[in-house]
Subunit: 347 residues, 2 copies
């Protein structure tokens, strides 16, 4: 079964409405900037690579209408769209990458007529989307070398087709391993508060015919101690120049548990997730989300006493020293990451 998370159809962005999963596979069509902003904020669309493509297309949505005879007004509109989308969510590097890519392309062509620049923006956004499809498949090929037939893999959150265009990073590695005939079993950490592990990862792995069991996030240590996990693999939202990696809250816990149990801990991410301007994880901005995501299950069922306080950071940072390898579209990076990251970006 093919899962197409983001597509460009009839001059609109078509998204899988991820809040409806796993009960319902529903699509939403986004035709303007404000709807996209809300879709990002409320996690109708999420996952760093998916966000990158969505905002790239979003910039086009922001500038496609209106006056074509006024280059200055167009340029202002472009800047506004970029600024607006950049304020949707702070952590995923790809979101900024997607905006920067199309804006830089537009600026490089600012001498052209506005109508032409618009077409160039759309074309660049579609390229961002296509490149992610290719990158994920390369991540899959590279990462699959680390997977042995019969492995049981633990993952958290969703770094699959639903976090990218149609394939996945961490789950892309698993899909590729399966294609190569390896029998894989996956434990999906449910990933509170928003349960992307049980709602999304279990859904797509199940669809793709991969054996998956859901666990509460609390169960990771238990399974490792029992010797049930061969390796951990997760995605990333932003990777600093030293290899420190921001990913869904709870990832750091898994990395520490894996280290203690001598289990390999891998990050899978395209180069577009790296942020060389950020020296270490301490400088990665961490999104704080609504306490209600914790006190009410999926913003509905109240599970804490009325008026209870809650703290809800959406990401944490895994220090590079806990990461066995970072699987990218350009190859597998190993420590020392400061060096290996620098090298791969200078090739």
């Amino acid at each position: 079964m093919n899962i197409r998370t983001i597509d460009w159809k009839d001059n609109r962005i078509r998204l899988i409405e991820q809040r409806k999963l796993p009960q319902e596979l529903k699509y939403v069509n986004i035709g303007n900037l404000r709807s996209l902003w809300r879709a990002i904020k409320t996690l109708q669309v999420r996952g760093a690579p998916a966000l990158g493509a969505a905002v790239a297309l979003g910039i086009y949505l922001g500038v496609k209408g209106g006056d074509e005879d006024n280059p200055k007004a167009f340029s202002r509109k472009l800047d506004e769209a970029a600024k607006y989308l950049a304020a949707s969510r702070p952590t995923a590097r790809n979101l900024f990458y997607g905006i920067e890519r199309v804006c830089a392309k537009a600026k490089a062509n600012r001498h052209l007529p506005v109508a032409r620049i618009k077409r160039i923006i759309l074309s660049e956004a579609l390229k961002v989307m296509e490149e992610d499809r290719v990158a994920c498949r390369k991540i899959g090929i590279n990462g699959s070398r680390l997977i042995k037939d019969g492995d049981t893999i633990l993952t958290i959150c969703n770094a699959g087709a639903l976090a990218t265009i149609d394939y996945g990073t961490a789950l892309g590695v698993i899909y590729r391993a399966k294609t190569e005939g390896k029998k894989i079993k996956v434990f999906a950490s449910e990933t509170r508060p928003l349960l992307q592990g049980s709602r999304l990862t279990a859904w797509e792995l199940h669809k793709k015919g991969i054996e998956v069991s859901v666990i509460s996030d609390n169960t990771a240590g238990f399974l490792m101690r029992e010797g049930k996990i061969n390796l951990v693999i997760t995605g990333a939202d932003r990777i600093a120049a030293n290899g420190d990696s921001a990913n869904k809250i709870g990832t750091f816990n898994l990395a520490l548990l894996a280290k203690y149990h001598k289990i390999p801990f891998y990050i899978a991410a395209p180069l577009t997730t790296f942020d060389l301007a950020v020296r270490s994880g301490e400088d990665i901005p961490i999104e704080m989300r609504s306490p209600e995501e914790v006190t009410k299950i999926l913003l509905k069922k109240e599970v804490a006493p009325k008026g209870a306080k809650a703290l809800n950071p959406a990401f944490d940072v895994t220090p590079a020293k806990f990461i066995t390898a970072i699987i990218t579209d350009k190859g597998i990076l190993r420590p020392d990451y400061r060096r290996s990251i620098k090298k791969i970006f200078s090739q």
Copy 2:
């Protein structure tokens, strides 16, 4: 506000129906063995010390009716009740302790008339209940010495009034510290799958006027890295002769995180939670509960795809080497636990 989790009223066990919290404070009255078994199995009542008192009273419920002229039939009935309740849940030591206490007392008095033995059983069960009330307060006094004014404490699951008769073990320490005028802030790890942290711990701390914030279980590492946690304190369901401690799934993760961040990790439990017959944590039986507790939130809202598998161990074991101290009613135990536990039991 006084919270009385278990009481003996009108020849029945009166329990707070914990599945209704935090929305509703409701009591249920239990008048027979089968109802008690179901109340235990479905976690209407839970928490190791509370279970100990509940089953002690339960044995009386099991033998109180029927023929009083047949000591043999009575003895058979007693054994059956003990066996039946012992099969309700496997991990908490106190459950077996409660059963053993009243059965041993009955056996020591088997020469007496059946009616008399019954009264002795009830009296012994009430004693088990009263002793827990005293033990918890002693744990509070002993443990409060480890708490400094202004401390921020992380706990998991519920080791409070709702896990005991009316005071708590881990939370008893916090209550005592408050009584002594120390200002405490608590982070309650929500404790998936059944959310005892948000539903029960946040509820009772809030009622008692202690500042509490709920976090997803994934957030513990984040907070420790940020330097926001001064100490971790949890209850225990069974403590082996070497100090290895079984407690709610996820406790081991917290202990490892605390060790890495050089944050003290304390267990608070009465001596009745220790099982000297169990040499180490490996021999503590771990209850596996229904996968549906993971795939459906509070057994209602489905959050995993239909037919998804799940694994749901209810407890994990924290190795003694991660435990800074064990706070008991008879004092604070420090490593080497094999020695300190042996010593305290031989006093």
